[in-house]
Amino acid sequence: MAVARAGLLGIQWPQRAFQNVVPLGAQTASHVTNDMLPVSYPRTPEGWAAAPKKYNMCVEDYEPYPDDGMQYGDYPKLPDRSQHERNPWYSWDQPDLRLNWGEPTHWHLDMYTRNRVDTSPTPVSWNVMCMQLFGFMAFMTFIFWVGDMYPVYQPPGQHSETLSPFKKERKARRGGSSL
């Protein structure tokens, strides 16, 4: 155990293997302390000042979810934008999530990943798109319904291809009537 950083004179390769080993119990599993974790809704001015620093945000940007018992605590309310909208050409620390290390993550990040909900701007407003789609569907449904009520067929008749040779000759002798 004393091999750790102290560095013994001796064989090189076991020492190098133990370079990163520290005596058991000397390190914690995580570098996150209790004051870095989220708490309940900030009620004191100290709480309001400490929260944005904890979440690596500007004081102006920090806005917690409203305190209506919906269990958000002091977690910041970030704009509801999906990861699709983030710059694809910037060198993110996590390129697939388009996320940087330490950046305040949205509460609904798992919903806003690039496999799921997309809030990117559309070419036309949402209500215009809805009107166009549902208007077209409604119009076509109406037209098909009208067509169902008043069907239009060609008058029935005997086509010469379906006749037997005897009937074809009789039809030719009669003058080629279609009936």
Binding site: C58, Q71, G73, W101, S120, S125
Partner: protein, 129 residues
């Protein structure tokens, strides 16, 4: 065109080019942008120091992700307070489906039982008797 009639919605946000805040160049906005950039640069530096450290062997833990996980799991119940909205949602989504399914299954089975009692159900291939 002087103004666009594009209206943002929940699933279609406003593009930055149509957002008047994008063209705001007042000193306060500039200062806020500089502050945000400073925070981002500091985080990037901390990350890259850990990433490129030759002595690092394991993963780099992301405190933001840990806070996110903690907020969504452990920090939920301590901040719970029963409100009318909470209670209604709990009743509607928690207990509602159970009662609804119970009634559907019960009525269906009662109807089948009645038909069997009257002998009207076709039980030719019924294996369980």
């Amino acid at each position: 065109m002087s103004s666009s009639n594009y209206k943002p919605s929940r699933l279609a946000s406003l593009p930055s080019t149509l957002d008047p805040a994008e063209y705001d160049t007042s000193p306060e906005t500039r200062r806020a942008q500089a502050e945000r950039l400073a925070i981002r640069a500091r985080l990037k530096r901390e990350y890259l120091l850990q990433y490129n450290d030759p002595n690092r062997r394991g993963l780099i833990e992301n405190p933001a992700l840990l806070r996110w996980t903690y907020a969504r799991t452990t920090n939920v119940y301590p901040n719970f307070r029963p409100t009318p909205k909470n209670s209604l949602m709990g009743a509607l989504f928690g207990i509602g489906p159970l009662i609804f399914l119970y009634y559907i299954i019960k009525t269906d089975r009662d109807r089948k039982e009645k038909l069997i009692r009257e002998g009207k159900l076709d039980r030719t291939f019924q294996l369980s008797r």
